[in-house]
């Protein structure tokens, strides 16, 4: 679902922290984008905004918040969006849903690297063509913005660091907000202008 029309740039807001930031962002800035909101389910994340719940992509109707179970519904979700419509993904590195999306970007990239190495041998392989349709969503052309969160638990901090490391390998630009409740209006304004220079933005930095 998207919350704006006729915009050239698209943002995918993933998870509860992203929703919170989205709701605090200037509406005029948001209008410059087509905004896609992806949440896990509605049980703890009720909102009156148009959002997509990942749990709706699970046929059995019961989706566990578990790294192994998220892959398939995420793939189904991405198959509903046109690759070129999203330029920026925003989420918290502490949320499992966003971590999984970052992980999948890495998986896709490594699969493509292997494929490219064997390109000339696999030129007429049906498997090769099947794989290409699977990986239509090209993460390496996207930017990602991690929303800073002060999380106290040791395991979550370490998972978050790993996720950021993986993102650096798979995404074009990896950015982060400098504080927990960051203002990203200025950043989004500059991003929509495509100046590419976000170095002077108050609350956002490239990592």
């Amino acid at each position: 679902m998207n919350n704006s029309v006729n915009s050239e740039n698209g943002i995918l807001w993933v998870g509860d922290k992203a929703l919170e930031t989205y709701l605090n962002t200037d509406k005029n800035v948001l209008k410059a984008y087509t905004n896609y909101l992806l949440l896990f389910d509605s049980s703890y994340s009720k909102t009156d905004r148009e959002v997509t719940y990942l749990s709706d992509f699970e046929e059995s109707g019961k989706l566990d918040y578990d790294s192994n179970q998220l892959s398939e519904p995420i793939q189904k979700y991405f198959s509903t969006i046109e690759n070129k419509k999203i330029d920026l993904m925003i989420g918290s590195s502490y949320e499992l849903l966003f971590q999984k999306i970052i992980d999948m970007a890495k998986e896709v990239k490594s699969r493509e690297t292997v494929k490219n190495d064997k390109e000339e041998y696999q030129l007429f392989s049906f498997q090769h063509f099947r794989n290409r349709t699977e990986t239509e969503f090209d993460f390496s052309a996207k930017d990602t913005l991690f929303l800073e969160q002060n999380i106290p638990f040791k395991d979550m901090i370490s998972d978050s660091k790993n996720t950021i490391k993986k993102a650096k390998k798979s995404y074009r630009n990896v950015l982060t907000t400098k504080k927990d409740i960051a203002e990203i209006n200025e950043f989004l304004y500059r991003f929509s202008e495509m100046t590419g220079d976000v170095s002077n933005c108050t609350d956002v930095e490239i990592i």
Binding site: D16, P152, K154
Partner: protein
């Protein structure tokens, strides 16, 4: 930090483990559902009140397991004490003491001090300990779990050390040695 977002993330990640932990201890499935709802509120309350320093000592899984186990036992203790209060028409303390002396079962045994007992409320004892140590004591002494099992449930790697320290702490706080000295006085003071 928005603690409510942290709560949501934790509940989502650990819901199935929490439910399993509750089911093992609260047998009635209807009760188990109610306990899960109440426990969720308890967890939210704890997350909002607990300092960052305190939480930063934990892995999220261990913290959730600890809070869940302790909560289950506090529920069970409440249920048990309510039942016993309902079923027994308790006499006042004096009558109870007199009867006990008549049967020779008083706290301090008149003829044989080594048979003397001192009663403590489990809640009072557990409240001397922090959340982690309470869980370890509950798992070890109430559920007869091995230290390996306790490590697995709580996500700790050295629960046997914590267990020893917790026991030592209880002994010091309730002054077990002082109590033993009282026996000695009773024995040798003739």
């Amino acid at each position: 930090m928005n603690r409510r977002l942290l709560f949501t993330e934790l509940i989502r990640r650990h819901e199935s483990n929490i439910r399993k932990t509750i089911r093992v201890r609260i047998k009635n499935s209807m009760d188990a559902d109610d306990v899960f709802q109440d426990l969720s509120m308890h967890i939210l309350d704890k997350i909002e009140r607990e300092s960052e320093d305190q939480l930063s000592k934990w892995d999220s899984k261990s913290w959730m397991a600890t809070v869940t186990i302790n909560y289950c036992y506090s529920v069970l203790r409440k249920v048990t004490s309510k039942k016993s209060r309902r079923m027994t028409d308790l006499p006042d303390d004096e009558t109870l003491e007199r009867k006990a002396y008549q049967k020779g079962e008083a706290g301090m045994h008149q003829e044989d001090p080594s048979r003397s007992v001192k009663h403590f409320q489990i809640d009072d004892i557990l409240s001397l300990l922090n959340e982690r140590d309470q869980t370890i004591i509950i798992l070890k002494l109430f559920e007869n779990r091995s230290m390996e099992e306790i490590d697995e449930i709580t996500g700790l790697t050295n629960s046997s050390q914590y267990y020893k320290r917790a026991i030592e702490k209880i002994r010091t706080k309730i002054d077990v040695d002082g109590f033993k000295d009282q026996y000695d006085d009773f024995f040798f003071d003739d």
